[in-house]
Symmetry: C2
Subunit: 163 residues, 2 copies
């Protein structure tokens, strides 16, 4: 790749990354909201997880991962301890995690973004790559949620509306 | 948001962003490859586009958008002039665009990433936001491609394998 000449250019600041991520999280919140209560927990295509399970995966990653990075704690993440029975419970937790993410993200230094960390005792990558992965993973699963909504005859929110 | 304190931190360099993007493009290429020839052009869920159309959208954005940014050309993008009939034609074009992206991306300066540009005469945002959008849009549609593959009984490539 012809990237040598670009090695020292900043692509974006950390506050710009956080704003982008929280914009994605707002959109994912609207996708959760768009599902009817029952289908959020039950609807599936081809044996894939219902969208509630994907949302729980995202909840178990973002905030807990940043906390782990800041505290240099490599404990495994916990997808099992939160068992919401309603959409409202998921959305409430989602909003709590918004603040957790803002708090811990702001504590990560510029140098730290470049340091390798064994996230959850399993994902040993530079911190910035781990954070990009959280966002990509969210966009990936949300894209699947869009197909579920279409298959349910529901118009998904606009992909470009983030705030 | 509690982002004030982070305003001057670099999140990542432009070469790191390009490497991440090309890793995503490698994975999307494998998703294109995973479709049987016929289903790539015809299979759909709930009236959505077949994956070939999504791939053509991606091809019409990345390279042409960077060229537009570098040349300050706000012409609309062209999703209509390339009409591949086979998977092989799509993959060939995909690989050509890999080089186009590397070339034009390397010509964007650090200052330019922060400047607002009216991409394709339609999307007026800072250049870094436009570029993030290309990647997000790709991850979004590829996630939909994963559902198509599952519905076809085909195991998609691992999400985390990029190179």
């Amino acid at each position: 790749m012809t990237t040598t000449a670009t090695a020292t250019k900043q692509f974006m600041t950390s506050d710009q990354l956080l704003e982008d991520w929280q914009g994605h999280r707002n959109l994912t919140r609207r996708v959760i909201e768009a599902f009817p209560e029952k289908e959020l927990f039950e609807f599936s295509i081809a044996g894939m997880r219902p969208f509630s399970k994907m949302a729980l995966e995202l909840i178990s990653i973002g905030g807990p991962a940043l906390k782990g990075i800041v505290e240099s704690n490599t404990e495994a993440h916990d997808e099992e301890s939160f068992h919401p029975k309603t959409k409202e419970e998921i959305l409430k937790k989602w909003d709590e995690e918004t603040e957790v993410i803002n708090h811990y993200f702001s504590l990560i230094t510029e140098e730290r973004f470049q340091e390798t960390f064994n996230l959850f005792g399993q994902y040993e990558f530079p911190v910035y790559q781990n954070i990009l992965y959280f966002i990509d993973n969210e966009v990936h699963h949300r894209g699947q949620g869009y197909v579920y909504l279409r298959a349910l005859g529901i118009e998904p929110p606009f992909f470009w509306e983030r705030f």
